[in-house]
């Protein structure tokens, strides 16, 4: 920006790198190729931005995503045209579903070749359109700086999301002056800056009149940096709070007012309290089908208040009574003020009775598992991990049973410490995401909880971890099955285990070793604690711990797809009263 008045003409590639520097980008996760050679040359000639060479473009985008989720800053990935762009798509769609701010730059063939089926040509803007917040094709080097500014602005404001910038090779070679705008104004894009005060006052009154209230909060609170406001509101009212998979950590899990995660594998008390509540306050959550179960049976007695930055999230799946659109931190501040201004207190008798009811549900001890088993129970591994890290690790996961066990058993007391692919459910996310997290927080313990199937979907990134000395701790809960699919086959397909047994697993210890890391195999419950301690103590090495767990263990409790929240399966042995 300091050179804004300089008429010096520089290469598009240099403009690109200067734009990243102006956005204070620390890391670019990427993979070079033909059309981005000029950009890579410009990266070579500077030292402000560090480029991290991954082993697959999907890994680049997940790493940028992990960085963004852990820091709150936009993640940046750089890939080449054609297969580079298509490999990045899974990562982009993952970020889109969880509203993660990313700027992904795809190289494109020379503008004169676009549409000619040129070598490594793909319509990156067309392919990514349904899974980005916005995307751009830059056809003129004079538009490059402004487009980069717009990309970062759009990715990080309003409801965040990934933005793709497709840059043809000639645009990186052509010259223009570098003028980077300080701010950007778009007549067609104006994110909300506050909520409607009338609606907020109405919400405050409705909340105070509740007999059986509950707060249901989601990833929006984490993304909107409103954990402090949420905690203040929850404590002010004394109401029970439940959080979605994406919302965990925004309110401390160890606090008694937290009644656990809700949804398909949420706690009995959380789902029952949702079902029985009379006022539901949804904050930064989107009534996803994994939360609501059968919509016909969802919260039958509740008046619903919904706070969200995205008007399209409101009344999409569930009709709400009081909608409030705005940034969650500002709206919560105004809501707290409005509640205080009424001079009223919550109905303490009703609240005491409500907590009494919740405590009887809690007494079900729905997360109970067999502690005397001779086989390693996955829940036990996660309990021990939580104990030994004292809840201070940043934990990423892949997708499946291990993800649900982690959400249930690792108690997150702070936001941005729990990083997983919730919306898209992308297997292979955990390891590259952990790389992004470890770059952002080099001194923190970063743990990737995975399974024997998920870990193999981006296993090549072990090589990146070696190159950049990332001391990630990987836990594979190895049951030799695609566990979550196997669970559904057991429960709903009469135990026909169609293609879920993994017959030829690698020796993960040797695999880790061949990448230059440390591998451990743990077969017995008595070895779990010692192995975790040993691995966690190795501060400067990546350790892959391969836990041979009980192959038949399932995730409970469970609301089967299409069932109501109050129709939970506790376990095959346990019937609900």
């Amino acid at each position: 920006m300091s050179e804004a008045n300089n008429v010096e003409m520089i290469l598009g590639a240099e403009i690109f790198v200067k734009a990243l520097a102006a956005e204070e980008v620390e890391y670019v996760f990427g993979y070079p190729g033909g059309v981005v050679l000029h950009i890579y040359d410009a990266i070579f000639k500077q030292d402000k931005i560090q480029h991290i060479l991954v082993r697959h473009e999907q890994g680049a985008v997940h790493a940028a995503d992990g960085y963004a989720r852990a820091t709150g800053k936009p993640g940046v990935a750089l890939v080449t045209s054609g297969p580079g762009a298509t490999n990045a798509i899974t990562g982009i769609a993952t970020a889109y579903m969880d509203s993660i701010p990313l700027v992904v730059i795809t190289g494109q063939v020379h503008t004169a070749l676009i549409g000619n089926d040129a070598f490594q040509e793909v319509d990156a803007v067309g392919i990514s359109r349904p899974c980005v917040k916005h995307n751009f094709l830059v056809k003129d080097v004079n538009d490059l700086a402004t487009t980069m500014k717009k990309a970062f602005y759009i990715a990080t404001t309003g409801r965040p999301g990934p933005v793709v910038v497709d840059i043809p090779k000639d645009v990186t070679i052509n010259k223009a002056p570098f003028e980077y705008p300080d701010t950007i104004e778009m007549r067609s894009y104006k994110p909300m800056v506050a909520g409607d005060l009338g609606q907020i006052r109405q919400a405050a009154e409705m909340m105070l009149s509740a007999k059986r209230p509950i707060l249901y909060t989601g990833g929006g609170v984490v993304l909107g940096n409103a954990a402090k406001e949420l905690t203040e509101l929850t404590r002010l009212l004394g109401y029970p709070i439940t959080q979605t998979l994406m919302g965990l950590g925004a309110y401390p899990a160890t606090d008694p007012q937290f009644i656990g995660m809700l949804g398909m594998h949420g706690t009995y008390e959380a789902n029952m309290a949702m079902h029985e509540c009379d006022v539901l306050v949804a904050i930064g959550a989107r009534f996803d089908d994994r939360i609501t179960g059968d919509l016909e049976k969802f919260c039958p007695y509740a008046k619903i208040i919904h706070l969200d930055i995205d008007p399209a999230s409101i009344s999409k799946n569930v009709k709400v009574d009081v909608p409030i659109v705005g940034p969650v931190d500002i709206v919560l501040q105004d809501l707290i003020k409005a509640i205080k201004e009424t001079g009223q207190q919550p109905d303490s008798d009703a609240l005491a009775a409500w907590w009494g009811q919740i405590d009887t549900w809690r007494a079900t001890d729905c997360l109970r598992y067999d502690r005397n088993s001779e086989l390693i129970k996955p829940q036990f591994v996660l309990e021990k991990l939580y104990e030994l890290t004292e809840g201070n690790a940043i934990v990423t996961s892949d997708v499946g049973q291990h993800q649900m066990f982690t959400a249930q058993f690792y108690k997150f007391d702070r936001p941005r410490r729990w990083i997983c692919s919730g919306g898209l459910g992308t297997m292979g996310f955990g390891l590259p995401a952990a790389m992004g997290v470890q770059f952002a927080f080099p001194n923190d313990t970063v743990v990737c909880v995975s399974g024997d199937a998920s870990i193999q979907m981006c296993i090549q990134e072990l090589s990146t971890c070696k190159q950049f000395d990332l001391p990630i701790k990987i836990i594979t809960l190895n049951n030799r099955y695609l566990g979550m699919v196997r669970q559904w086959q057991e429960l709903f397909y009469d135990k026909r285990y169609s293609h879920t047994y993994v017959d030829a697993l690698p020796d993960f210890v040797k695999l880790a070793d061949s990448y230059g890391h440390i591998g451990m195999r743990i077969d017995k419950p008595s070895e779990v604690e010692r192995a975790l301690k040993e691995a966690l103590a190795m501060k400067d090495r990546l350790v892959l711990m391969d836990f041979a767990i009980d192959q038949g263990e399932n995730v409970y409790p469970m609301v089967a797809a299409g069932k109501g929240q109050n129709e939970m399966l506790l376990s095959p042995e346990r019937e609900l009263a």
């Binding site: 067309g126 359109r129 917040k133 916005h134 067609s188 399209a312 009709k319």
Partner: protein, 164 residues
């Protein structure tokens, strides 16, 4: 229910495909869609006719508003509004009788014959979709050579306007 939505959007490459892609990705119907630049060439105006329950129409308007290039939109169906459509019809008029009859019909419907050849009349007509349907129905099907319909353009009545 049928809704007519008017949209102002940035006149940029790809904006149209974003709207079309939104409808296909979310399973909404497009009955017709017309688009052209306005008096300000940086802005396009689109008239989109769709069908859906109130909930679906609410989602459609919200999702359209979310598109970065959409500046403003209005659901014309919510108030008094005017819709017009243009058709061009090429009609086979081999005999004198047919020529007479088509000429009369075009006059009744207040259309215009804009091209004449030895075998065909080309008729231009504007009106509501219903009127144009009625005109086409009034012609014996074998005589119709081609029909070109523009899709609906719409504008609100009175003081309500959609502008930047």
């Amino acid at each position: 229910m049928r809704h007519t939505i008017s949209i102002l959007l940035e006149n940029e490459a790809g904006a149209l495909s974003r709207v079309a892609g939104l409808f296909s990705a979310r399973g909404y119907n497009i009955e017709s869609l017309t688009v052209a630049p306005t008096e300000d060439s940086s802005i396009s105006r689109m008239t989109l006719v769709t069908r859906g329950s109130d909930e679906i129409i609410e989602q459609i308007t919200k999702q359209l508003n979310k598109l970065i290039e959409v500046i403003k939109l209005i659901d014309l169906t919510e108030g008094g509004h005017i819709e017009r459509e243009l058709i061009l019809v090429k009609i086979n008029v081999a005999s004198v009788n047919q020529r007479e009859e088509i000429k009369r019909l075009v006059d009744i419907f207040r259309g215009r014959i804009i091209d004449v050849s030895d075998a065909n009349y080309t008729v231009e007509m504007t009106g509501t979709g219903e009127k144009l349907d009625a005109f086409i129905k009034a012609i014996e099907p074998p005589l119709i050579v081609e029909v070109v319909r523009s899709g609906v353009s719409g504008i609100a009545r009175g003081n309500i306007s959609l502008r930047v």
